[in-house]
Amino acid sequence: MRTDLDQLELEHRALRRGLPVALAAIAAQVVAEARLDPLRRDAVLEELIAHFEDGLAAGCSIAELLAEFGDPADATALLAAATRIPRSSDSTIPPTRRLSMLPHIVREARFAVRRLTKSPGFTATAMLTLALGIGAMTSMFSLINAIVLRPWPIAAVDDVYDLFEKAGGTQPLTNPDLGDFERGTKDVFVAVAGIRYARAQAGEGASTAPVAVELVTGSYFEIVGLPPSFGRLLGPGDDVAPGGHPVVVLGYRYWERSFASDPGVIGFARFGSTAGRTGSWAWRPGSIKATCGS
């Protein structure tokens, strides 16, 4: 049905160019049945019309031109096969035709919209299915990207082990257990560090905002093995007395976003108290050192 409509449209186009009906019909039939994409279809039709025009101008009769044309079925099959070959540049389509394809594209779009509005139930179901599918795939990719594809920001990631205590389920080590483990495995591990994820309020004066933080022990950055962009990182010397060495290392993006990459932020922070899994930090001039790492 669609091919018939295409053929009629192409035939009208050939007739408007002044071709006799028999020649217009054969050109339209071959091009329509080859099922070419719209741009190439128009270019091929144009060339066939041009050929017939030249033949007529040279004094050939319609019957002679039809006889010279060859078998339309062969032409259709050969055209379809030839235009399936991938091409590096498409000079088949004249530049002016490319621009004039816009009305065709608009017409195809309007046809599609009309068909879709005739069956709203189907359209809604299809759109919902697509939306859910795309959403699910996007979420899945984000997860896989975060867990699998994006490399950990650790220098020697193959030498790092994530340790848990397994007693009635997987549990993180407590701080005393971590100390025992570190002392007992000095000949096995170069360094052992503890990490605790927490949320805190950070800001200056009354304008504070929640931030995700990691409370870490002194050897943490020795294991991560990345250099700081500014200032210094935490070291074992910052981990002697509980609560006695409140040093902060800012994430690079947080430093860019919240401090406009100001290197003057070093030495500008005061570390507040932490309680449970939450804490409160206040940024203000003070004597406590802050460092910024990448």
């Binding site: 044309f69 050969l78 096969a81």
Partner: protein, 112 residues
Amino acid sequence: MRVERELLRGAGPITVLRLLSQREMYGYELVQALARRTDGVLAMGQSTLYPLLYGLEAKGLLRGTWRIADSGRRRKYYGVTPKGTLYLKSRQVQWRRLVAAMGQLGLLGRAR
């Protein structure tokens, strides 16, 4: 007299490339040149010629350019690309060997 389609299938591309290597032509000119210069033996209709041109163009052996012909009408001129020239040369060698072998068998009228 035209040759059978199966024979023409092998000869068609090299024939078209050879003619277009001498000067650029559009479809109708090419049909006329093929018929005239081969006494009709290698004449091709549109049903064969245009798919052949599109195939060669897609393979990068020909390059088509739309421009205004002497008649004042817009026509697509085909010319051989450097890749097409190399292809033509390699095929010419093979055709010479084929023709020589057929001659040795007496198929070209020269019995050994």
